[in-house]
């Protein structure tokens, strides 16, 4: 995975979770649906944002598969 891909996935997950929460608060989406989306999106947000800032600039794949 490239550094930029990690950033895109992380931000997308965060935005989806925030947007569905907002839509549920405004009454456009059932709360249960927003919660289910948050449950799926939050782990992706945490892990991919961490992978993004963890990755060194360059073309190499992350995470390193080695030892």
């Amino acid at each position: 995975m490239k550094k930029q891909t990690a950033l895109i996935v992380g931000l997308a997950a965060g935005l989806v979770a925030a947007a569905t929460g907002l839509l549920a608060a405004l009454g456009y989406l059932p709360a249960l649906v927003a919660e289910l989306i948050a449950v799926v999106a939050f782990p992706a947000f945490v892990i991919f944002i961490a992978l993004w800032w963890n990755a060194k600039p360059g073309e190499e794949d992350i995470p390193f598969i080695g030892y």
Partner: protein, 281 residues
């Protein structure tokens, strides 16, 4: 929705820091600052991240996502006043996460941690009998109904004190540095978490922070009732400090002693439930 999860993660990590600080002070050490676990999680997220060659790659990575997801779901169950039976199910899923995490790496240390996780399945028994004992009084397993019951009859902490003790033991079995923390004992390095480093460990720290927050919040909701946020957090902190005190003065038990203590508590609670059944009907 995500704001609740971020808040719970932050408070959970802060609680972990307070837990370490209290243990250190009781043991006569200065201890780390209370925000240490927040820094710790950030530190891990900047560390070199790898997947061991011997690991099952999908399980190794996927288990971190599952760990965060199940405790995120548990938080929403509490917030929406859902069933404690689902909470119990999530607690069992966490056991599968612990086991899967240990088996996914191929390392002998993590496998020992995974096997100890299965041995310590006895820690789920007090939770099961707690659920039954609560049902005896409230005639419902929905948290919303349980809190409503307490508004009329007073806290279950007093009415069903043995059940509260059992739930306390359940939370104690999941605390770091506790007498029942056999899956992450130092003689097996970090147990089932040994090979999860860097971003993966940061993710697990987030999951465990959510777990601590959810378990303490569940204890307050189920045994004291629905209170304003500040008061709830204060009570959660008091429960945490008492747990830290127990962790500070109690050595880690051997795996078999762990199972024995948890089974004895379960046995005592079963007797309590039988007596309740005779008296309450």
């Amino acid at each position: 929705m995500i704001e609740y999860l971020l808040f719970a993660t932050f408070i959970g990590l802060l609680f972990h820091g307070i837990h370490r600080k209290v243990i250190a002070r009781i043991q006569g050490r200065p201890g780390p600052p209370i925000w240490q676990e927040i820094l710790h999680t950030l530190k891990f997220s900047f560390k070199e991240t790898w997947i061991p060659k011997t690991a099952s790659q999908t399980l190794f990575v996927g288990i971190v996502f599952v760990a965060i997801a199940i405790w995120s779901g548990a938080l929403f169950i509490l917030l929406t006043g859902g069933s404690i039976l689902i909470l119990f199910g999530i607690y069992l899923l966490h056991k599968i996460v612990e086991h899967g995490m240990g088996l996914s790496t191929g390392s002998p240390y993590t496998k020992f941690g995974a096997i100890r996780s299965v041995i310590s399945a006895a820690s789920e028994l007090p939770l099961l009998v707690t659920v039954v004992a609560i049902y005896f009084f409230t005639r419902s397993l929905a948290i919303a109904d349980i809190t409503a019951y307490q508004e009329v009859h007073g806290p279950l902490l007093i009415i069903a004190f043995p059940a509260a003790v059992a739930m306390y033991l359940v939370i104690l079995s999941k605390m770091h540095y506790g007498p029942f923390s056999i899956i992450e004992a130092k003689e097996i390095v970090s147990g089932n978490m040994t090979e999860h480093f860097g971003v993966w460990r940061a993710g697990l720290e987030v999951a465990y922070a959510l777990k601590t927050y959810v378990l303490l919040y569940a204890f307050v909701l189920i045994f004291i009732g629905s209170l304003p946020l500040a008061l709830t957090l204060l009570l959660m902190l008091l429960v945490l400090v008492s747990l830290s005190f127990v962790c500070a003065i109690t050595p880690m038990l051997s795996p078999y002693d762990t199972v024995t203590v948890q089974s004895l508590v379960t046995g005592a609670l079963v007797i309590y439930i039988v007596i309740l059944g005779v008296i309450v009907g």
